[in-house]
């Protein structure tokens, strides 16, 4: 199943729908992280979050490139020339960057979701996806170290840090559950061995993140998942993010650089 031209049409659609969700998650989180450039609490943290932003955008390019192989438009067109309802990201990544606590909590929840997803996809029946997942997984080792360290330190450092981290978790958690909203075509992907069911990924993710959050004295909220992102229903924050993110590409200046 290596050659996309040999993939039957319904499967091509189903694999594309997963790749689109992953690519859109990464590109928008990368953009939100990049909003810290020049503003992070200390210079060193600024450089680290900027690097992580670049990594996420690099992953997005990889997923968009696989999509292109399946017949979707090129990565620039995908990132810069679609409108909010065409994006398939989970709402978690479109929320405003908030304070450093929110950035740390969101990044932590996302990094571990990415870890369990990549580890599952390394066994995917579609070889190009399995190979790309293995490549990206290597880069996640540092991200996981980074996000875990911030959770451990800020969770119970001071009364204020605890309060901010708990508020961040209360806001982020239901949106983070939305990372596991099945993108259209899941049944076919599971049947063809492209991915395990999202509900399984969510269980693996919770088994990893819960103990770390609890060890940092944070209370995991009882909340229903916020779904919608994987079918193009977003919060009001996506439009303003895209207005900023797509402004230069859409100004037409891109043609003459």
């Amino acid at each position: 199943m290596g050659n996309p031209s040999q993939m039957p049409e319904p499967l091509r659609e189903a694999v594309g729908s997963l790749l689109l969700a992953m690519a859109d998650d990464e590109v928008l989180l990368g953009h939100r992280d990049s909003e810290w450039v020049g503003h992070a609490p200390i210079l060193e943290a600024d450089i680290a979050i900027a690097s992580i932003a670049q990594d996420e955008i690099g992953h997005a390019i990889l997923w968009y490139s696989l999509l292109q192989e399946l017949g979707w438009p090129d990565p620039d067109r995908m990132a810069y020339f679609r409108d909010p309802p065409e994006f398939r990201n989970a709402t978690l990544v479109e929320l405003p960057r908030g304070d450093w606590a929110f950035t740390a909590v969101r990044q932590f929840l996302f990094d571990f979701a990415e870890k369990v997803r990549l580890e599952a996809l390394m066994a995917s029946a579609w070889a190009p996806l399995a190979e790309a997942a293995a490549k990206v997984r290597r880069e996640e080792t540092y991200h996981l170290m980074h996000s875990r360290a911030w959770i451990a330190r800020l969770g119970d450092a001071t009364e204020e840090s605890h309060r901010r981290m708990q508020a961040a978790l209360d806001l982020a958690w239901p949106h983070a559950l939305g990372l596991f909203e099945p993108a259209p075509g899941e049944a076919l992907r599971v049947a063809e061995g492209i991915q395990p069911p999202e509900v399984e990924l969510r269980a693996r993710w919770e088994a990893e993140v819960r103990p770390i959050l609890e060890a940092a004295s944070l209370v995991i909220p009882e909340a229903e998942p916020i779904y919608g992102g994987r079918t193009g229903r977003h919060t009001e924050h996506l439009a303003s993010l895209l207005a900023d993110f797509q402004m230069v590409a859409r100004s037409g200046l891109g043609e003459t650089w």
Partner: protein, 96 residues
């Protein structure tokens, strides 16, 4: 922060970061100092663990007032040049 570019080479001081503990220092330093170059190992050492001479003592401590050229191991420079030449040409000397 001390960075080792290749196994067997010395760890070289590359700079410092602000951090409350070694783990955080490591996490922050990784992006400061290993964004572009090579690295196989990174050491974190708290600044207060380094017993250092003062800059104003350099003259008295480290430069000879009298002629003591006989103590300088000049011959070794040739060995160092041979080693570099061999490395450039893909050969290596047996360990001393």
């Amino acid at each position: 922060m001390f960075l080792q570019e290749k196994r067997g080479e010395p760890h070289v001081h590359v700079g410092a970061v602000h951090a409350p503990d070694p783990e955080m220092a490591f996490i922050l330093a990784k992006e400061q100092f290993v964004r572009r170059g090579r690295c196989v190992s990174l050491w974190v050492v708290p600044a207060e663990a380094i017993y250092a001479s003062r800059a104003e003592d350099a003259e008295e401590l480290f430069s000879s007032a009298l002629e003591k050229e006989y103590r300088e191991p000049r011959g070794f420079r040739v060995a160092e040049r041979v080693r570099r030449w061999m490395e450039r040409h893909g050969e290596s000397l047996p360990d001393a």
